[in-house]
Symmetry: C2
């Protein structure tokens, strides 16, 4: 007798143009780490001759490499296959308001050269900013001993909403001159590689999920900096929503607060508890603080007022997140951003309220943790975004067909 | 030069065991409505002989049927193929607290026989309730002139949380005796067909999405009855979250309210604005109202106090939904449940606050509408849940292989 459970093995597979293509075989190898040809046959169900054919194709395109080792009961150890993550690089930029992080990463997402660029000022507009990014990409490639011909893709994160399918910022409040500017268009004359653009919290969520939580389907990444934003991973992928506006928790209303927000409403989480708001409240008390970084410095120096404010900000963030937990039931919430990372007080405040306010079933196995990647979540996420895009089975199969034609 | 956009055609396809299987061909036919063999060849990329083979298999299993018609420039019109939605039935039950709706539906989701069963009391426990459901399924099949052998699956919705993969209610607050009870297990000795179980708001969301909003990816279905719940559709599928607890918006805290809720917290949306709470508040004022249905009756009779309360309940629901809109950015919000459907005042209150409080980008194209299916959303959703399961390409291919063996 068939029951629901027995019947639900594995996801529904859409039809593919080719059964277990070279691209699909590469996916299996990447997921496994290393695999012998025999293991590859077992996992894909392919005949030995077909495995050999697919592997030859991938070897010829330098997408996999032979590694010696693996289990063997004697004689010559069987050679295994591994993804050749050195076969190309991706260029990544996590553009911030006042400073940015740039990197050249291999196809495994490991940075080969990396820098924080303080001269980048997003308000100078796309031509100036991307010009400097391009120049620094050149310098970083030189450091990493790689050239233009190695570039497989470019990933860019920006501090504002993005039309993801076009790679264009849309009405970004703090990016004058960028509205509707095609970032892929700008790079098109400079690199022969795909360019993907997303907002900063989405790439941070992606970086953190890929690096530390790949076994969980549903994750929220909360960035607490000058403002407050959220990147959402649902079933392992970024959830952008209907207009790409998902994750804007900074303007959810806090119970019992009437502070006016720059968005025109009152009581928004960001207007009460963002790093900018905390700095303003400290300076009103005569404590020198202009930015979220000043707040972080004060907390690190043990300033009492700053510490108390950050704890309260954690509780306020917790109020909003308690609602998100009831609504979305994430498995992991990662707290990042400069204020988010600076203080265990913020995280403690969040935990205090979320575990009090959310329903037991939703918090039973919820992990509420600081960012494991810290300042690098964005640049790693930008790398992962573009790597997953260029190494997707379809993209690999297209590239192989293209090379053969 | 490749840009992100050019490179992003179509979803990434996992590898399939068989290229464009009979199950996959059936999916194409179901999506299209009717298709000639030539059109089928164009859409799948299959050779004429392979199309013929796949179609023969589907005809042999009575999964498709020939329909005469279609475009023709003369001579005999080419015959088209359509899904044979009469080739089986699904049995559906939307179990409520005090009454339930049962139906026998064809494989297109159309009810062949349907009834509201007032004798079902969920608190009598699974054996009593399912016994009566089973008896009524038999009567409805007789009405519809179908027999046991036609049953392809059973879909059940229940008013509480469900472990979807096991079909078991988990700690349902208003379903004594059902905790951990295997509904598929109960039906296993009575029908040779898969049994799927989900909570009532999830199946309502599915029914409404499938019937009226299949072209949108992200939808929320809000049920306002005695309590308040939410079913979430993300990328066309039900989002259940880590523990299957997603959508529990009834216990999100409302700003400025301190009413104690049965969950132990204060100020929960449901404790302030659920149908049960509204009835209590009316009876405190000396107006006779014990249930959410009484509230609905009062509003329909033009009672002033009830109408004002429902409008206020709409605004309170709007406060919570404004947060969900900022967080999730849905394209559609459907308001249902008995209180939800009863009054344009509730919807007006929701709209008032959501369009004031949520960010412009998130509400620009947001549709906020009453349920199109009304009381039938659940039973239709239960049908869709099980139909999509049994007609999934993999399931069809397995069934065909099984029949051949």
């Amino acid at each position: 007798v068939a029951t629901a459970r027995e019947d639900q093995t594995g996801p529904v597979r859409p039809f593919a143009g080719e059964p277990v293509s070279a691209g699909a075989v590469l996916r299996v190898i990447r997921d496994a780490g290393t695999l012998t040809r025999a293991e590859l046959g077992r996992r894909t169900g392919l005949a030995r001759s077909t495995v050999a054919q697919r592997v030859d194709t991938l070897l010829r395109h330098e997408l996999v490499r032979e590694v010696v080792g693996g289990d063997s009961t004697g004689g010559r150890p069987p050679s295994s296959l591994a993804f050749n993550d050195g076969s190309g690089v991706v260029l990544c930029a996590d553009l911030g308001v006042t400073h940015s992080r740039l990197a050249v990463c291999d196809l495994g997402g490991a940075p080969l050269a990396e820098e924080v660029e303080e001269r980048l000022d997003i308000s100078e507009g796309p031509e100036a900013v991307l010009g400097l990014v391009h120049e620094r990409f050149g310098a970083l490639m030189e450091q990493a001993d790689r050239s233009h011909s190695h570039v497989r893709g470019i990933g860019v994160g920006v501090p504002g909403p993005v039309a993801f399918d076009r790679g264009e910022p849309t009405n970004p409040p703090i990016m004058p001159g960028w509205d509707g500017f095609s970032i892929p268009g700008w790079f098109a004359s400079r690199y022969d590689a795909p360019v993907l653009v997303d907002n900063d919290v989405n790439i941070m969520a992606l970086g953190e999920h890929w690096t530390n939580w790949r076994d969980r389907g549903h994750l929220l990444f909360i960035k607490v900096g000058t403002g407050i934003g959220c990147g959402i991973v649902a079933r392992g992928e970024i959830h952008r929503g209907g207009k790409g506006a998902a994750g804007d928790i900074g303007h959810i209303r806090l119970a019992g607060h009437e502070v006016r927000c720059r968005c025109g409403n009152v009581g928004c989480l960001e207007a009460v508890s963002g790093g900018g708001a905390l700095a303003r409240r400290l300076s009103e008390r005569g404590i020198e603080a202009r930015t979220s970084r000043d707040v972080v410095r004060l907390v690190k120096d043990g300033d009492d007022a700053a510490t108390r404010l950050v704890r309260e900000a954690g509780r306020n963030l917790g109020e909003v997140l308690a609602g998100c937990v009831n609504f979305f039931n994430p498995e992991v919430i990662v707290i990042g951003g400069d204020v988010g990372q600076a203080s265990s007080q913020l995280l403690a405040g969040v935990r205090e309220i979320v575990f009090q306010r959310s329903l037991p079933l939703a918090t039973e196995e919820l992990r509420l943790v600081p960012s494991g990647l810290g300042d690098r979540a964005g640049v790693i996420g930008a790398a992962i975004m573009v790597i997953e895009h260029v190494l997707a089975p379809d993209a690999i199969d297209r590239a192989i067909r293209h090379a053969a034609a």
